[in-house]
Amino acid sequence: MSVALDIVTIAAISAGALFFLAGTVGLLRFPDPLTRLHALTKADNLGLGLVVLGLLPQAGSLRDGLKLVCVWLLVLLAGATVSQLIARAALASEASDQRGEFL
């Protein structure tokens, strides 16, 4: 049974690491802030979610597992809020650039 749990852990964490890699490559290669934010959310939501899912079988008790899920939910909340704020700031600076104003 523990071997099966270990295999689930390794598979889920590897998949999560893959999403983190994809998000980082997107952050480095995409042309403008909005597309980069789009890439980052993949790392935040799916990458961390899969890592947490992989760590759940290794958690000692139900409380530790719930704490891991809470960490993921808090990161989701923070990531979503910050992405919105950065996107609005990027849009505003694009608009003022097009109008030819100084920031």
Partner: protein
């Protein structure tokens, strides 16, 4: 080479890389972002060194509050950045500074690596006496019982730093509201976060303070999280920073050191030494001091980041 050793080497290389990148950055904002990342990586290093309390403090202060403080400073300095870059020191001075820093780092590394094995340490003495304080976390027992004097003096230094920040206020707004009045769309995302996160943050902060008695944690880390929640609410415009001349604010600021001093003087009268705790009451006394200190730290750190008064108290 084990996986753990490879991970630690990778972490060390990453920390050095981020440090070099932070110093080499051309814009202040970029350097501040590098500094925040550096603080978080250092927190990981502390965890690898089994110093989880220090890691919590590093993540909260180095990665969190210092980052906010430096971002605010970078924003204020943006207008003068071009002129400041023109006055940057020349290449020879910078190379000299780099060489001096490298020599100091090498001397420190040599000092640590040449320690005898096992290194001289007071940890066994602490472990032998932890039971007398009634606490389970040896770090908290050192902070609050064996070296309580240092902790008391640190809290007073925090107050002095806050007074230093307040002294930057112009005469006409003396004692007024610190920092600008933040405005944010009340139906927007930041206001939403400032309504949703503080209840969670307050519970987490009080939990980290409470669990510091037996697990990694403590008053300082808990107070920092409470300060961060207060700052979030201020930055979203949902509340205003109170004028620094308010009596309740100043009473909360001195509550921590005052309770600490009171307990210390009581120990002088009853136990024969300043800050001596009678063994039967050690844990309740320590917890009382920590409750007052958590409140004081939360308000002090919040006000330190809010800045010097900029608007008069009448408004």
């Amino acid at each position: 080479m084990t996986i753990a050793a490879a991970l630690e080497i990778a972490l060390a290389v990453l920390v050095l890389g981020v440090a070099v990148w932070t110093i080499a950055a051309r814009e202040t904002f970029v350097a501040v972002v590098g500094f925040v990342a550096y603080g978080l990586l250092l927190a990981l290093v502390w965890v690898r060194l089994d110093a989880v309390d220090v890691a919590l403090t590093e993540a909260a202060i180095g990665g969190g509050l210092s980052g906010v403080l430096l971002l605010g400073a970078a924003a204020r300095l943006r207008t003068t950045e071009v002129r400041a870059a023109a006055e940057a020191p020349g290449k020879i001075l910078r190379i000299g500074a780099a060489l001096l820093s490298a020599m100091v780092a090498a001397a420190l590394a040599a000092g640590v690596l040449l320690l005898p094995d096992p290194a001289p340490t007071l940890a066994p003495a602490v472990a032998a006496n932890v039971a007398a304080t009634g606490l389970g976390n040896p770090v908290t027992s050192v902070l609050m019982a064996f070296r309580a004097m240092d902790t008391l003096l640190e809290k007073i230094v925090l107050l002095l730093a806050l007074i230093g920040v307040w002294s930057l206020a112009p005469d006409r707004v003396w004692g007024g509201h610190p920092g600008p009045r933040h405005q944010a769309d009340p139906l927007g995302v930041l206001a939403y976060l400032a309504r949703l996160l503080p209840p969670v943050g307050i519970v987490v902060g009080i939990y980290i303070f409470w669990t510091g008695a037996d697990q990694p944690g403590g008053a300082f880390q808990g107070g920092t999280i409470l300060a961060a929640m207060w700052l979030l609410v201020i930055m979203a415009g949902l509340t205003d920073a109170p004028p620094v001349s308010r009596r309740w604010l100043r009473l909360v600021l001195i509550a921590g050191p005052a309770v600490f001093l009171l307990v210390g003087l009581t120990g002088l009268l009853m136990g024969g030494a300043f800050l001596a705790y009678p063994v039967a009451y050690a844990k309740p006394l320590i917890l009382t001091i920590e409750v007052a200190m958590t409140l004081t730290i939360a308000v002090t750190l919040g006000l330190l980041l809010a800045g010097a008064p900029e608007r008069s108290a009448g408004r």
